[in-house]
């Protein structure tokens, strides 16, 4: 029932990663899983719970979807480069091959680095922390770095230079035989095309770093000077999204704007539903975040691709879907 051989591999991978980052001078930190506020992310649903405090007043608390909120405070306070391996929580995720509502995340911030440096940092880390006696094909092949612009043209025939216009993007979706809903948002139509044509076509036999995401997808990465894109990448192995990375936004005005817009969107979408509406962190926009790149990597997924699996389920000693079946 319990796969102890896989548990041993997980332990080895986590130890290798810790040794690697500590050897490079990163500080390993440990930050809370429960927080009274989060970074507003309308596409990520949070688990809410309640802290009972009889005398000073009870408060709603939320399980973190990533430790970003705390780690950036440490960066702003002068921690230098830091990393953390922790449990993260995402509600309303479907239970499936590469999804479990509670999962293990590696989050690593490198002070002074940008998104491009982080590709090298990540390639090296993955190579140096590989498992003993296991030599997957994807690790022997040279990683591919491809921009979203190039990938959308190559696999979907969509010109991202014109895709700023929702009308163009919608017409392209229809040309490709997709059914974008009436008044569908730019993000959803883009993702329909991306998920149907582009993502499944990315090479599966190596690490693929998909760079320069569209500016229109809101996130806390810097704008690129190259075009209407963000300094953000996502990394895939065997078609599975393993990691993402930002050249972290340091402009307080941009961060404040992101917080205001995304929190409003989140509040509007969730009002009247049973979904938690976590307050936005009030002090986040005033942080003096230094130039840094931040990566987040799903370690259950990384372990799965090391072991040649398409699913993280066999690697979880207690997967939620198993527990719910009992």
């Amino acid at each position: 029932m319990y796969d102890f051989a896989a548990a041993r591999k997980r332990s080895e991978l986590l130890m290798n990663i810790r040794e690697h980052f500590i050897g490079k001078g990163y500080l390993e930190v440990s930050t809370p899983s429960l927080s009274p506020y989060l970074i507003p992310e309308p596409t990520i649903k949070a688990f809410g719970t309640r802290f009972i405090n009889e005398f000073e007043g009870s408060r709603d608390l939320y399980l973190i979807p990533s430790p970003e909120i705390f780690m950036k405070k440490l960066l702003a306070a002068g921690s230098g480069s830091i990393f953390q391996i922790s449990s993260c929580f995402r509600n309303a995720e479907q239970l499936g091959d590469v999804h479990n509502p509670e999962f293990t995340m590696l989050e690593y911030y490198t002070v002074g680095a940008d998104d491009r440096d982080s590709i090298d940092i990540t390639i090296e880390m993955i190579e140096k922390t590989k498992l003993r006696g296991i030599d997957p094909e994807w690790l022997r092949n040279k990683p591919l770095i491809i921009s979203m612009h190039e990938a959308m043209m190559k696999y979907a025939g969509v010109d991202m230079d014109k895709a700023e216009s929702i009308d163009y993007l919608r017409a392209e979706a229809l040309r490709l035989g997709l059914n974008p809903g009436e008044n569908e948002s730019w993000d959803d139509t883009f993702n329909r095309i991306f998920l149907t044509y582009t993502e499944p076509s990315l090479p599966k036999d190596r690490e693929v770093y998909l760079t320069d995401y569209p500016d229109r997808i809101a996130c806390l990465a810097k704008h690129s000077e190259k075009g209407p894109t963000k300094k953000r990448w996502e990394m895939y192995i065997n078609g599975i999204e393993i990691a993402n990375c930002y050249d972290e936004e340091t402009d307080k005005n941009e961060t404040e704007k992101y917080f205001a817009e995304e929190w409003e969107k989140l509040r509007e979408e969730r009002s009247g539903t049973e979904e938690a509406i976590p307050p936005a962190d009030p002090s986040f926009s005033s942080l003096d975040i230094p130039q840094s790149s931040g990566g987040a990597m799903g370690l259950d997924r990384l372990l799965a691709v090391h072991l040649g699996l398409n699913s993280i389920e066999p690697l979880l000693l207690f997967s939620l879907s198993d527990m719910l079946r009992q």
Partner: protein, 187 residues
């Protein structure tokens, strides 16, 4: 109507008036994007496979299906012919919709079929079937290596790797999923 997030393997849907059966489903949550499902849908009449990506919240038109037992009669290279074991109606199913099924279709054997109205959407092959060996290579004399195997062909044309002691005319049980020999059946 169902939400796309509720579609599972085997769910039957109506797309532009045509029935399709979901053969693969994968949840995808693009970074900073809404939840989507990626589906592979097969048309039972043409065998055509559609790839469809839908938002989990999109509506899809599901259809009510019914299982019936069919006895396999024969094929003419284009259609499989079955008989409904209750009504004795004869039913034909295009072979191109079910590639490779011919190797598992045994005359007189009963198969469970999924119907939408009068159309067969899916046929379930039993996980184990007993076949007769129609052709067997002769075991090479002096070949006494333990675990030695050879190929035989069943009456349905399926090639199976078997131990060398299996002879023409004998019956063998086969795992239909892996196409592997399980055991000799003494009749």
């Amino acid at each position: 109507m169902i939400k796309a997030g509720q579609i599972d393997k085997g769910t039957a849907l109506l797309i532009k008036g045509q029935p399709f059966v979901c053969i693969e489903r994968e949840f995808v949550n693009p970074g900073k994007g809404s939840a989507f499902v990626r589906l592979k849908l097969k048309s039972p009449s043409t065998g055509q496979v559609l790839s469809e990506t839908m938002k989990s919240q999109d509506n899809a038109e599901d259809i009510t299906v019914e299982d019936r037992d069919l006895q396999y009669l024969y094929n003419d290279g284009e259609n499989f012919y079955f008989q409904n074991t209750e009504t004795f109606d004869q039913i034909d199913v295009p072979m191109k919709s079910f590639p490779d099924y011919e190797y598992f279709m045994k005359e007189g054997e009963t198969y469970r079929a999924t119907f939408w109205e009068d159309q067969v959407l899916d046929i379930t092959i039993p996980s184990k079937i007993v076949f007769t060996v129609a052709e067997a290579e002769e075991a090479v004399k002096g070949d006494t290596v333990q675990g030695a195997t050879k190929y035989v062909t069943t009456e349905t044309g399926l090639r199976v790797r078997v131990p060398i002691f299996i002879k023409q005319g004998e019956k063998i049980r086969v795992n239909t999923e892996t196409k592997e020999y399980l055991e000799r059946v003494n009749s």
